[in-house]
């Protein structure tokens, strides 16, 4: 039975994926898409969806897994936002060549240059010309309905194109709306199982999709033929929407939705959720007798050329609203496309309204003002920016208001959760390093805690996958300027920025033995995005993407051993530390500092960071948990100096791991058997460390 529920756009998408019986879901969390990855993990953990979930180490791999799964014959879904889409770009570009009918939901969010969590289309616009079908939806219901249709469209043998469903981050992804969820059987009838004609599968066929070498016709001809697919797609889109309407009773207008356009003299062109506010502006103006109208572009690729020409033919003046700028043209991308389309048709004035970047709200008032500009029919200016300055927050503390303020390197008043141990570790670090340190910050909780300005040393936002590479750049500069013995190029990374997405650049910097200080603070999951599994998450731990359900019982794999992996790079200094053991960790930070300033190579510090929010313990227990991690052997304290391993803290007898596990909610589902297994692991590991300590040098240091 179909049912109504009140849900976010992200939940609507996840429900659509479930109904579409998607088989492979490679996915990586990023705000504001994250909860899609969490809902899907939950469905699978509970046995509600029978699919392979791949916790990739980054978006580049997420899209690569998606392509691999799709060309070998699976129905695939993935989803991302912002930086994630940008990081995926190379693989996004390759999917069309494979004619892989992947469906990807993008919860739109600004992509850096300047970072913001807010929604705009700077993320998707660079991806729109690669050969994907590109939809923008206005509501959560439309998101779900479109997702189901998209599999039909993408997989249609006349089309076979990857498809992207754009949904405004926050406005839809996290807003609750009433949504009708169709019943499974009806969807199954509408959307049969995916059976591709060509697949990479030597058991079935020797012919398979590939992207090299180019076809004999040449790539110009290929591009022309590829455009023909989009022409086919336009027909298929209408066909399938009609069929959907006949079965489910809902339709949205195919390529474009027209609102009060029949006799309109002044019209706006919009996409996505802003259209709702724009329609209310149209309603108000209509009451006043002003002939306003609106055209909402649903399908941006293929661009509905004919529809735009047809429906806008009688309009005198058109305003195109863009939530991104094609820098260097002083115009938005939708404007550029649409104006080019309308050129040569009937005479009309066309304006560009640029607004809503970085999540700034485009209000009904704004749309009314846009119509006012249209009504003036002024030909002297074509582009208008509707700007919304960020409201000033006046509760800031300045250094002069606290004792010794000017001398401090770290201030109170950061925005981390109560009980978060990041500022404790950062304080130890700064107290030891002093002020001549420059931090590369891949995105993480610390970035959020500190970004309001609580650090009085330089720190800049690096890309998630490239923390160590940014620091290499600053180090090399200081080196040629002969100040590398005075300034420390450091990376302050979370476990995600170390174990997973950040691993490649870290490993390469270690192999080149750059004299940088890499500090991994390990809270054993992606906490900034809301507790998703990482390569550091221990066996058995609950995270939102390794939930505990009928089938899954927390994370099923052991964590990677980063310090020992780093030792395989034969770098001069490696150490683990914990906030509860202040002197131990400060001594190690001091040794790391010496290593780097003497330019002996890369120093790697691995610091435990208990997280009350993500590990589910009381905020007052952060230090207690850290202490127990050390005392139970879950977090051994040791260092490796030029290959010589030394355990720096040896409890006379390790406490049982149960003492550590039982005070954390993330382990509360563990059975005695699992706890025994963990205990066994810890015993073995501890003994291994003691054995390694006996060696003069770890053998691989040669």
């Amino acid at each position: 039975m179909s049912y109504y529920d009140v849900m976010t756009g992200n939940k609507a998408i996840a429900c659509g994926v479930k109904l579409a019986r998607v088989k492979v879901i490679p996915i990586y969390p990023i705000t504001p898409q994250t909860s899609i990855s969490e809902y899907l993990a939950e469905f699978i953990a509970n046995g509600e969806l029978d699919a392979e979930y791949v916790h990739t180490e980054g978006e580049h791999s997420a899209m690569a897994v998606a392509i691999g799964a799709s060309i070998s014959g699976s129905r695939v879904f993935t989803s991302t936002s912002s930086q994630g889409l940008a990081y995926m770009h190379e693989c996004v570009a390759q999917a069309p060549g494979f004619r892989a009918p992947i469906v990807m939901a993008v919860a739109n969010r600004r992509v850096g240059s300047i970072w913001s969590l807010g929604s705009d289309y700077t993320d998707v616009m660079p991806e729109t010309n690669l050969g994907w079908i590109v939809y923008f939806v206005e509501s959560n219901q439309e998101a779900l309905d479109t997702l189901i249709q998209l599999y039909r469209i993408a997989e249609d043998s006349r089309v076979l194109l990857p498809s992207m469903l754009n949904m405004d981050g926050f406005y839809l992804s996290f807003s609750y709306e009433r949504v009708n969820v169709p019943d499974q059987e009806t969807v199954d009838n509408f959307l049969p199982e995916y059976r591709p004609k060509y697949a990479v599968n030597p058991l079935i066929s020797k012919v398979y999709p590939n992207v090299f070498p180019p076809p004999p016709e040449g790539l110009t001809a290929y591009s022309r033929m590829y455009e023909e697919l989009f022409e086919q797609a336009k027909k298929v889109i209408y066909e399938i929407e009609n069929e959907f309407y006949n079965v489910f009773g809902r339709k949205y207008g195919g390529l474009v939705e027209c609102y009060q356009l029949d006799d309109a003299e002044y019209a706006l062109i919009t996409v996505g959720s802003m259209s709702t506010a724009a329609k209310r502006a149209v309603d108000r103006l209509r009451l006043e007798g002003f002939k306003a109208g609106l055209l909402r572009i649903r399908v941006y690729r293929p661009l509905p050329l004919n529809k735009l020409r047809k429906y806008l033919d009688n309009v005198k003046c058109i305003g195109i609203v863009d939530r991104s700028v094609n820098h260097g043209t002083n115009r938005g991308p939708i404007f550029c496309d649409t104006k080019a389309t309308l050129y040569g048709g009937s005479e009309k004035k066309i304006y560009n309204f640029i607004s809503g970047l970085g999540g700034e709200d485009i209000s009904i008032e704004d749309f009314l003002n846009m119509f006012k500009i249209l009504a003036k029919e002024d030909t002297s200016c074509e582009v208008y920016y509707f700007e919304h300055p960020i409201p000033k927050q006046d509760k800031r503390i300045t250094p002069s208001e606290i004792p010794d303020g000017e001398k401090r390197l770290i201030f109170s008043g950061g925005e981390g959760c109560p009980g978060c141990t990041i500022p404790i570790l950062m304080r130890y670090t700064l107290e030891t390093l002093g002020q001549n340190v420059v931090f590369s910050f891949p995105p993480h909780c610390a970035g959020i805690s500190f970004s309001c300005g609580v650090l009085n040393v330089p720190y800049y936002i690096a890309n998630f996958a490239a923390g160590a590479a940014y620091a290499t750049g600053t180090y090399r500069t200081y080196k040629i300027k002969k100040v590398a013995d005075k300034i420390i190029s450091a990376v302050w990374a979370g476990d995600g920025g170390t174990y997973d997405i950040g691993f490649q650049s870290l490993s390469a910097a270690a192999e080149r033995n750059e004299s940088i200080l890499f500090i991994c603070y390990d809270n054993e999951a992606y906490m900034n995005t809301g507790v998703q599994r990482s390569g550091a998450t221990p066996y058995g731990a609950y995270t939102t993407t390794t939930p505990v359900g009928k089938i899954w019982k927390g994370k099923g794999e052991r964590r990677k051993d980063m310090p020992l992996i780093m030792s395989m790079h034969r770098i001069p200094y490696i150490a683990t530390g914990a906030p509860s053991h202040t002197n131990d960790v400060k001594v190690k930070i001091g040794k790391a500092k010496d290593t780097v300033l003497n330019q002996r190579g890369l120093a790697y510090l691995h610091l435990l960071k208990p997280c009350p929010t993500g590990w589910f313990f009381e905020t007052s227990k952060s230090i207690e948990v850290s202490r127990l991690a050390v005392l139970t052997g879950m977090w051994p304290l040791y260092e490796i100096e030029y290959g010589k391993l030394r355990v720096t803290y040896k409890p006379s007898k390790l406490k049982p791991v149960k003492d550590y596990l039982s005070i954390q909610g993330r382990y509360k589902h563990l059975t005695d058997k699992e706890i025994d297994m963990i205990q066994n692991d810890v015993n073995k590991y501890w003994n291994m460390l003691l054995e390694l300590e006996k060696l003069e040098k770890l053998p691989w240091y040669l």
């Binding site: 300047i114 927050q393 509760k395 800031r396 503390i397 300045t398 250094p399 208001e401 606290i402 004792p403 770290i410 201030f411 109170s412 008043g413 950061g414 925005e415 981390g416 109560p418 009980g419 978060c420 141990t421 990041i422 500022p423 404790i424 304080r427 309001c452 300005g453 609580v454 650090l455 009085n456 330089p458 720190y459 800049y460 906030p579 202040t582 009350p612 009381e618 905020t619 007052s620 227990k621 952060s622 230090i623 207690e624």
Partner: protein, 88 residues
């Protein structure tokens, strides 16, 4: 002639300082100075750097204390008690 610098340049290091995060608190630490032995453990572990040393013992800056309770949990002589904040 000095050129006017474009504002399209986001600079770090200009706004050093933090927020008054004390209003996040639901409970606040009260120190019994009679019990305190001035070991400064609380000062070392306070994540908010809200505790400073003074002759009388630790001073808590309630403008920044988020009420996590770490100080009370770590104090070896239990000189700190967390009490509910009552606010209208």
């Amino acid at each position: 002639m000095a050129e006017k610098e474009s504002k399209a340049f986001v600079l770090g290091g200009l706004n050093v300082g933090g927020w008054y995060v004390g209003d996040w608190r639901t409970q606040k630490p009260i120190i019994d100075y009679g019990k305190c032995v001035k070991c400064w453990i609380c000062e070392n572990f306070c994540p908010e750097i809200a505790i400073t040393k003074s002759e009388n013992g630790p001073q808590i800056d309630l403008r920044f204390c988020k009420g996590c309770g770490i100080c009370a949990n770590e104090c070896p002589v239990k000189a700190i008690e967390m009490v509910e904040e009552f606010r209208r």
